[in-house]
């Protein structure tokens, strides 16, 4: 076939006319359309402007500025690394391969976005191994994931997040394409604790992503060990992969004359009111695409300020102007489609973009490529002639979000006795930015280094409650949690510990903290004696079993759902952490380090008991997309684990399972209901 193709090509190049297509080529050559000449004065002015540029200095010619900057930053980083090596503990082992946190690997990517501050010690490292597909292979159109194993050692912090990213990178020898140099393809996080470990992660590389790759681009895989708050990183590694995307998938071409979109109807019509009880705007459109593969294109709709211009150069510039946006995969090269926009996704951002009277206008775009990975903006427009209004209750933003501790039991000042202590903490909540939020209450201190506050969980070193959902209609909430003196002493460094309350909300870009307090008026003391971890004393059996799920295994609906799951457990040690989350059905049941998607944890105590988890599945939020990336044939599994020990100390897995009977099938495509 290839020889036939090349033979036909050679005949074409030779100008032969021995078949119909070659004759047509000949006709086409002769029918070259005319184009107006470039006006002489324009040509001359451009010539003069170009040729009047100064001769470059040797500095510019050799691009020494970049090399000098790189060398300087490398020197600084090397000094930092050297300093940490001197100061670090001598018992830290070396990585299995020569992959220390090398500043050189940053220098290899001169256009990489400025990283977060680097705080490595010699004991932190991370390495990458691509498990599939084979590096260097031409990807088939069916390739959907890159499976990567990251081996790591974390020494500089009790816990961290391992961030794995896949990006596309253009050939630097061509021209400067600006931000296109580092298109994010997929990104995943894995929570890790101090010590050595490995995690296998699937990064999505679907048809839409491949289609967005410019010709000549490469894939760059990276791994970072990040501090829990994301403000520092401890180790990093970059690998350039040489997969080749098939030509047939380079489908995201741009033809402004042929990508078209027009609104057929909007319900409610102009002036319609969006409220809690009438939350939906239904938009029906006609569309026409220029790309040869319509499955690469997504219709994105949202609500925006009517005064906005509606124009932007890239999707990343366009989307932040929208709220309550939804995506819809287009089935055909042309036709009609219906998109539902819901006011209950009218987050703070959405309401913030409404005009003074609460009006928002419909905005629509056609994007080509993976919606989560810088797709190509084919067409984007605001339709100020189609506006709706938010009801006053959706716009009420009288006060900022706030949280404060009102009361706590036991009474503050108590020295915690041995054994479990039940805490009941009443918190005053002012919630104005969203209808609901997540509240975590617990004990923390501010004496230990690394008192960063995780957006969702509160202080990094803390004994906290299970996250509870609060609503704007509940000004006071009482939350119960348990703490035992051993764990408090193990986890918290200060002699005094305090009650904290943390209010957060999940957004498209992750968890955002709305309000936080660590109240010194509510203080407790714990025994200063060293506490030996009791995890090694397990007498078994330590096990957990799912006994009920509010949604039976099988297909998940194409809308956000919460699955309540009952778990029975037996624990032979005084306390441990029970984890539940989604994972790949191919995950090794005995490998608890495998990443969880939307994992939830609760603290359990010795003996037998039952606890309930709530797992959320939302097809269109980032976790939904993440879940899709680990699914196999759209099927995902649940993982259960019991971990003894807490971040900051040694941990040990007592139990791990991926029960075969709990498999859920994701909807064929995350779209709003028609």
């Amino acid at each position: 076939m290839s020889e036939d193709r090349d033979d036909w090509g050679r005949r074409l190049d030779a100008g032969e006319t021995t078949d119909v297509e070659l004759r047509l080529a000949s006709r086409l050559r002769a029918a070259r359309p005319a184009s107006p000449p470039l006006p002489h004065h324009v040509e001359a002015a451009l010539r003069e402007r170009l040729l009047s540029q100064p001769r470059p200095s040797l500095w510019q010619t050799l691009n020494l500025r970049w090399w000098a900057a790189t060398a300087a930053s490398g020197l600084v980083l090397a000094l930092v690394v050297a300093a940490f090596m001197v100061l670090s503990r001598p018992d830290l082992i070396s990585p299995p391969t020569a992959q220390p946190a090398a500043p050189d690997s940053v220098a290899a990517l001169p256009t990489w976005p400025a990283p977060t501050p680097f705080q490595a010690s010699a004991g932190d490292w991370v390495t990458l191994t691509v498990l599939a597909p084979a590096v260097g292979a031409e990807l088939s159109p069916d390739v959907e994931v890159v499976t990567v194993r990251a081996d790591y050692r974390l020494a500089s912090a009790p816990s961290a997040r391992l961030r794995l990213e896949l990006r596309s990178r253009l050939d630097f020898d061509s021209t400067d394409w600006g931000s296109d140099l580092t298109n994010l393809v997929d990104r995943q996080f894995v929570d890790v604790v101090q010590g050595t470990g490995a995690s296998t992660v699937a990064l999505a590389l679907d048809r839409k992503t491949l289609a967005r790759f410019p010709a000549g681009s490469e894939l760059v895989l990276s791994a970072h060990l990040l501090g829990d708050d994301g403000a520092v990183y401890f180790a990093q590694v970059f690998e350039t992969l040489s997969f080749t995307a098939p030509d047939s998938l380079r489908g995201c071409v741009f033809d402004p004359a042929r990508d078209r979109l027009e609104i057929v109807s909007v319900t409610p019509g102009t002036g319609g009111l969006l409220s809690e009880t009438n939350p939906r705007v239904r938009v029906t459109v006609r569309y026409q695409l220029s790309v040869p593969q319509p499955e690469l294109v997504t219709l994105v709709g949202g609500l925006a300020n009517p005064a906005w211009s509606g124009t932007a150069a890239t999707t990343h510039e366009w989307l932040p102007n929208l709220g309550a946006f939804m995506a819809y995969a287009l089935p055909n090269a042309s036709g009609t489609a219906t998109l539902d926009l819901y006011s209950w996704y009218a987050s703070e951002a959405t309401r913030g973009i409404a005009d003074e009277t609460g009006r928002v206008a419909v905005a629509l775009a056609l994007v080509c490529g993976n919606e989560m990975a810088d797709p190509l903006l084919l067409y984007g427009r605001l339709y100020p002639e189609h506006t709706v209004e938010f009801a006053p209750e959706l716009l009420r933003r009288a006060a900022p979000d706030a949280v404060s501790v009102v009361a706590a039991s036991p009474a503050p000042g108590l020295e915690l006795p041995a054994g479990l202590v039940q805490f009941d903490v009443t918190v005053a909540v002012t919630l104005t930015s969203a209808p609901t939020a997540t509240l975590v209450v617990g004990l923390g201190d501010d004496a230990r280094a690394g008192t960063e506050v995780h957006p969702r969980s509160g202080p990094l070193f803390a004994i906290g409650s299970t996250p509870v959902t609060v609503t704007a209609a509940e000004p006071r909430v009482t939350v119960r949690f348990f703490a035992d003196a051993d764990r408090v002493a193990e986890q918290l460094a200060g002699r005094e510990v305090y009650v904290f309350a943390n209010l957060s909300r999940q957004t498209e870009s992750g968890w955002v903290r709305l309000a936080h307090t660590l109240d010194h008026d509510f203080h407790y003391r714990h025994a200063p004696a060293a506490v030996a971890m009791r995890c090694a004393a397990t007498a078994g059996p330590d096990e957990a079993r799912i006994t009920a799920a509010s949604i039976a295994p099988g297909p998940l609906p194409d809308e956000p759902v919460v699955i309540d799951i009952d778990v029975d457990y037996t624990l032979s040690v005084p306390a441990a952490t029970l984890l539940l989350g989604f994972t790949s059905p191919a995950a090794d049941p005995s490998d608890p380090s495998r990443s969880l998607v939307d994992g939830v944890t609760v603290i359990i105590y010795g003996g037998s008991g039952r606890t309930q988890f709530s797992l959320t599945y939302a097809p269109d939020d980032p976790l939904g997309w993440l879940l899709r990336s680990v699914a196999q044939d759209d099927v995902v599994a649940l993982r259960l684990g019991i971990r003894c020990g807490v971040p900051g100390g040694e941990t040990r897995w007592l139990f791990s399972d991926v029960p075969a009977e709990y498999r859920y099938t994701l909807p064929a495509r995350a779209t709003p209901a028609p």
């Binding site: 036909w8 090509g9 297509e21 540029q53 001769r55 020898d173 150069a313």
Partner: protein, 180 residues
């Protein structure tokens, strides 16, 4: 490609003032290419200007690989067209929707108009590869360089595009066999 081109490139890399001969050699071709792709005279001038400015700016990093300097310029121009539309375009009224949906009618005087009409309704990727190969007179290796694909892939694309062109001509009642 002219034999003196590598030397001209080296001289311009050392001194932008030596860019003149390369500019003179390609500026009208690039302008014509951009005009054919956009159909907009003002935009074609802007994009041509941006193309040469970007080329001069990137020239120190250009590596001669045996293909014409023109292919590199076409590649820049192609991207500049996209950038210009993304940056500057305003929503296009949909008054001509029906025209877009249906193949263009043949012109009043025969086969060449029919050819242009059939060409106009081809997918953009087809029109692009045919424009580069037949209207811009780039050889297959140069087209491959512009599009960032292999020469074999260019052959496949040209062949498929011509087949689709033939189909469109047949829809217009102008089978290619009539004109051999």
């Amino acid at each position: 490609m002219s034999a003196d081109e590598p030397e001209l490139i080296q001289r311009a890399q050392r001194d932008p003032r030596a860019f003149g001969p390369l500019y003179d050699r390609y500026v009208r071709r690039i302008h014509a290419f951009v005009y054919r792709r956009t159909g907009d005279g003002t935009l074609a001038q802007d994009v041509t200007s941006a193309t040469f400015e970007k080329a001069l700016q990137s020239l120190p990093r250009y590596r001669w690989r045996g293909l014409s300097f023109g292919a590199w310029l076409y590649r820049i121009a192609r991207n500049e067209i996209v950038q210009a539309y993304r940056r500057d375009r305003t929503p296009t009224p949909l008054l001509d929707w029906q025209v877009l949906d249906a193949p263009a009618a043949p012109g009043r005087n025969g086969h060449e108009d029919a050819l242009h009409a059939a060409f106009a309704v081809l997918p953009d990727a087809d029109r692009e590869v045919l424009t580069l190969r037949f209207f811009e007179d780039l050889d297959s290796a140069e087209v491959a360089e512009v599009l960032g694909v292999s020469v074999s892939a260019v052959y496949v694309r040209v062949h498929r595009a011509l087949k689709r062109l033939r189909t469109e001509l047949e829809k217009l009642g102008q089978p290619e066999a009539d004109h051999v």
